[in-house]
């Protein structure tokens, strides 16, 4: 009997090649390619007076140097605005190469193709650009003041203003027995995958075909954009996603200028061309996220129940809005977490600044929303002198209230309706895991040693698996091997393993016989992409459905061959047999039979030739059938499925130096049924580490002129092993999603969401002073202590 793979800690099939150094990342393909480099703006805001590339023409080994003037047709137009939300009244996108004006340090101005990257960079150094400097708008305050404008035709720097409500929040707050207001800040960070962006393209003049390898989270998105911009038929463009060295959101944005310029160069030069982004470029030209300023008004009763909640916030969108309003919309909706405020009103302004664009980074607006809501919960508890967990419990949606409609519209334009969850049970688990009730005695023990410790808790709900759809194609080959393709891409999530587990279970084949291909438009041209913790939910479900179809067909053919009833058949380890008998047929043979042949090419295929198969009085392929043992299906859910979780952290804040040490980190997580708990826990670990980074270390330090002061791993402080918790205690809750056949919910982003909220709570608890801005450094904590000490009591 085949053991069930779903839910098993199966080792990853990806790892063999990756640990041997034989993975293929984008910079590893096409060793013969020419190399591109991009001249980037050194100024945050300037008009381009002139660009002189004459000196480059002398550089030996340079094959092309382009500015905007060299682009034609659609390539000369602005890059697409990918998600044109109706409230994005003033959406703006950059050009592939800047036309007349630059709006952030790092914006692409000129493109060079040379023998190698060294020569390409030599060439860049010889391009002379004359700029007329314009005042830079840096930071939310400067953007809000509107004194200077990023785009002349966008008044007040407001790209969009959006408002949603459920009930009359203002009236509810006015009538509430208690009210509070809070101002809460989150700074910029970034995805910062270890591999930057990269694109390779090869033009085949014989076939008139373009092949593009790109380090992306959406191969179909890039394909459509490249075809549209280069004026090619979709059928002329293949986009292949090789191994990707991490994404975390930044690689869902497309097309990046280089994703168009490289294919164009390949086509124009008739040779393979490669762009490999370096780390400095990644800091100044790939997307950032997180910076928002929030103002909260809340009214609540004596038990801490929120009667009315009004949130106004300002989102720093950077210089352009190619990815629309996804991040602030998510903040504005997912802020509610597991709670049900009596009435809610939210309004945000999305503001332009002369900085790198802002698009989703793992969590995508949720860390900010969670920070706002959880800080509010803590403030309510402090105001009423109640236990912080009790206040949360008083506000929870109850298990019998699902599906629960929050009365808002989510990022996908669908209702914000939670499908399932059990928040009270989860709270019990996290309290137990972190020993919530024993903390005061721990605090006393530490205080006796002269140490200061604090405990923080943060809860979140995450809409995962957004649509519109994903698809899958399952092909059982005559060898009995199963080849599966799904269109979304992988950046280290172990899809090849998790999806193979699903197929093995559904088809009854050996796990080892399943091979998964992701992100290759030749194999599955219909797909959306990997973001919003959607891969397992969307492609996992599609693969399950497609495998089911292939299985149905296999059983039908096998039933014929075995002269048995379909209902009496089972498939175990790739062999179809009549239950309780030794009558059986291997799936490979079923595959042979599924494809009526005129020509035999080996022993096995003889069995499928027209003299051996089928009823000679009927067409070899029935009218409603097709040859081959394949299954194809798509999964398109009505709305997102809502995962949830709670984190608790205990910190020590050094009494003398204000250093912040993590003593304990605990996670309870509910992503429905687990496909592979090992992979899910790995995702949580990684998310927690990014949460630590966002809470205690990482920020984008822009100066007033819009220069990014810490554009290196020296100064952008991503955690090493020495900065993360030495252990992360994890407990799972499994409330299956009713929306998909496997009962799963997304798990990718969860780990990062409550980081800043939990740390802020723990530090506040240790220090007894309000923490309203994250990240926080020892230097900032020291400054808070100083300021607090001087405040009149």
């Amino acid at each position: 009997m085949t053991t069930r793979m779903m839910g098993a800690k199966v080792q990853r099939v990806e790892d063999d090649r990756l640990v041997r150094g034989t993975g293929r990342y984008v910079d590893d393909v096409a060793p013969d390619a020419l190399h591109a480099a991009v001249l980037r703006s050194p100024h945050a805001h300037a008009r381009i007076v002139s660009i002189d590339v004459d000196a480059v023409l002398d550089v030996e080994g340079v094959h092309a140097v382009w500015t905007h003037e060299d682009l034609e047709g659609a390539m000369a137009d602005p890059l697409p605005l990918l998600i044109p939300h109706p409230t994005l009244t003033h959406g703006r996108t950059q050009y592939a190469l800047a036309k007349d004006e630059v709006n952030y340090v790092g914006e692409a101005i000129a493109f060079v193709v040379a023998d190698d990257r060294y020569v390409a960079e030599d060439a860049l150094a010889r391009i002379v650009v004359e700029y007329e400097l314009l005042p830079a708008v840096v930071g939310i305050e400067a953007a809000r003041s509107g004194a200077n404008l990023v785009h002349d035709d966008v008044p007040g720097n407001v790209a969009a203003r959006m408002e949603q409500s459920n009930g009359d929040a203002a009236a509810a707050i006015a009538a509430a027995p208690h009210t509070l207001s809070l101002d809460l800040h989150i700074e910029r960070s970034a995805c910062m995958p270890m591999e930057g962006r990269g694109t390779v393209a090869r033009w085949d003049p014989d076939q008139g075909r373009l092949q593009v390898w790109t380090s992306t989270q959406t191969s179909t998105g890039v394909r459509a954009a490249v075809a549209a911009k280069l004026g090619l038929d979709l059928g002329q463009v293949d986009v292949i996603t090789p191994d990707v060295g991490g994404g975390f959101g930044v690689k869902i944005v497309h097309p990046w200028p280089e994703e168009l310029l490289v294919p164009l160069a390949a086509q124009r030069l008739g040779t393979a061309v490669k762009f490999t982004e370096d780390r400095r470029e990644h800091f100044i030209s790939s997307a950032h996220e997180r910076a928002q300023v929030h103002h909260v008004e809340v009214g609540f009763d004596d038990e801490g129940r929120v009667l009315g909640l009004d949130v106004r916030f300002w989102h720093d969108h950077g210089a352009y809005t190619p990815y629309g309003l996804i991040v602030p919309i998510i903040t504005s909706t997912q802020l509610l977490g597991p709670y049900k405020p009596g009435a809610y009103h939210v309004q945000f302004d999305s503001l332009y600044t002369n900085t790198v664009i802002v698009t989703p980074y793992r969590g995508a607006g949720r860390p900010q929303g969670c920070f706002v809501m959880e800080r509010t919960m803590d403030a309510i508890a402090a105001e009423l002198g109640l236990d912080r967990a009790d206040v949360r419990a008083a506000n929870f949606i109850q298990p019998d209230e699902f599906p629960y409609d929050q009365g808002l519209i989510f990022q996908d334009g669908r209702e914000l309706k939670y499908d399932s969850g059990d928040y009270p049970a989860m709270l019990d688990k996290i309290k137990e895991l972190v020993d919530w009730d024993g903390f005061e005695s721990f605090r006393a023990e530490k205080a006796a040693e002269g140490k200061r410790v604090g405990l923080g808790l943060a809860c979140y709900v995450e809409g995962t698996g957004v649509g519109p759809y994903e698809g899958a194609h399952v092909h059982i080959e005559t060898s009995g091997k199963v080849k599966v393709a799904t269109g979304l891409t992988s950046q280290g999530q172990g899809h090849q393993t998790a999806f193979a587990q699903i197929v093995a279970d559904e088809l009854g084949v050996r796990f080892e016989d399943v091979e998964i291909t992701t992100g290759d438009t030749r194999r599955m041209p219909y797909a959306v992409g990997t973001f919003a913790s959607r891969a397992a939910v969307m492609s996992g479900s599609a693969i399950h459905l497609a495998a089911k179809r292939a299985k149905e067909k296999a059983l039908r053919i096998a039933a014929d061959a075995l002269e048995a009833d379909v209902d009496d058949l089972e498939i175990v380890d790739g062999v179809v047999s009549v239950k309780g008998t030794d009558s059986s047929i291997p799936l490979g043979t079923v595959a042979v039979l599924s494809n009526p042949l005129r020509y035999a090419f080996d022993e096995a295929s003889k069995a499928a030739t027209q003299f051996n198969v089928g009823d000679p009085t009927k067409p070899p392929v029935a009218e409603d059938d097709e040859p081959g043992l394949e299954g194809k299906d798509f999964y398109s859910p009505p709305r997102s499925t809502f995962a949830s979780g709670m984190h608790a952290v205990i910190v020590e804040t050094d009494v003398e130096t204000a250093e912040i040490r993590i003593l304990k980190y605990a996670v309870v997580h509910d992503c429905g049924h687990l496909i592979n708990p090992m992979i899910v826990e790995g995702q949580i670990h990684g998310g927690v580490a990014q949460g630590v980074g966002g809470a205690l270390y990482e920020r984008m330090a822009y100066d007033e002129s819009g220069q990014l002061l810490n554009a290196s791993f020296m100064d952008f402080l991503m955690p090493y092993v020495t900065e993360v918790p030495t252990s992360i205690e994890i407990d799972h809750l499994e409330t299956p999603s009713p929306l998909n056949p496997l009962g799963i919910k997304g798990a990718g982003e969860a780990g990062v969401i409550p980081g800043s909220a939990a740390f802020a709570a723990a530090i506040e608890d240790a220090e007894r002073l309000p923490i309203t801005a994250m990240p926080i450094s020892p230097s900032e904590l020291f400054a808070l202590r100083q300021a607090h000490a001087q405040e009149p009591k």
């Binding site: 063999d16 993975g23 030996e60 780390r279 790995g682 580490a689 993360v724």
Partner: protein, 167 residues
């Protein structure tokens, strides 16, 4: 602009002698990847902080992005491609990473594998703290390091049982 002068160098990588003609400024990381086609060594920052490009130079972990290929000539270089067993099976550190789920996207992994290979050669039975210390100079954005630390201890265990087997 005149053609840049190249230097004929011999690089001993994973026990194999390679010849290449490289400009003096060619970083060792680029020479390995682009001149020798050994693309297992990855480049994550090119300023020596992330550790993805770490290779062993005469057995010691070093950043290949902070060395020029010309300077590496005459030294024995070991890259991730050289960490498997002679029979092609995974070496102990590679195997431990797979067993412990010590990698996700795999981009930083080669630098961890080389670093740990040298680390457990020097300290065959590291405590968890020592394991942490061993990888303290390598950045990973995916794993949160939890399983990497486990993999260090597991790798040491596998390597020790190799030694026992050989003895």
């Amino acid at each position: 602009m005149s053609t840049e002068q190249t230097h004929e160098i011999r690089l001993n990588v994973n026990g194999v002698e390679h010849q290449a003609a490289v400009p003096a400024r060619r970083l060792l990381s680029d020479a390995l990847r682009h001149d020798l086609g050994l693309t297992g060594t990855h480049v994550g920052c090119e300023h020596g902080v992330c550790g993805a490009c770490t290779v062993l130079v005469d057995g010691q972990p070093m950043r290949s992005c902070l060395m020029f290929a010309v300077s590496a000539a005459g030294h024995e270089i070991t890259t991730v491609e050289g960490l498997s067993r002679p029979d092609g099976e995974l070496g102990p550190v590679q195997q431990a990473f797979r067993e412990c789920h010590g990698l996700q996207c795999g981009f930083c992994t080669p630098g961890f594998l080389t670093t740990i290979t040298a680390g457990i050669a020097e300290n065959p039975d590291p405590t968890e703290d020592e394991a942490r210390d061993m990888v303290a100079g390598n950045l990973c954005r995916c794993t949160g390091y939890q399983n990497i630390v486990k993999a260090v201890c597991r790798a040491a265990e596998l390597a020790r049982s190799d030694e026992d087997g050989a003895a």
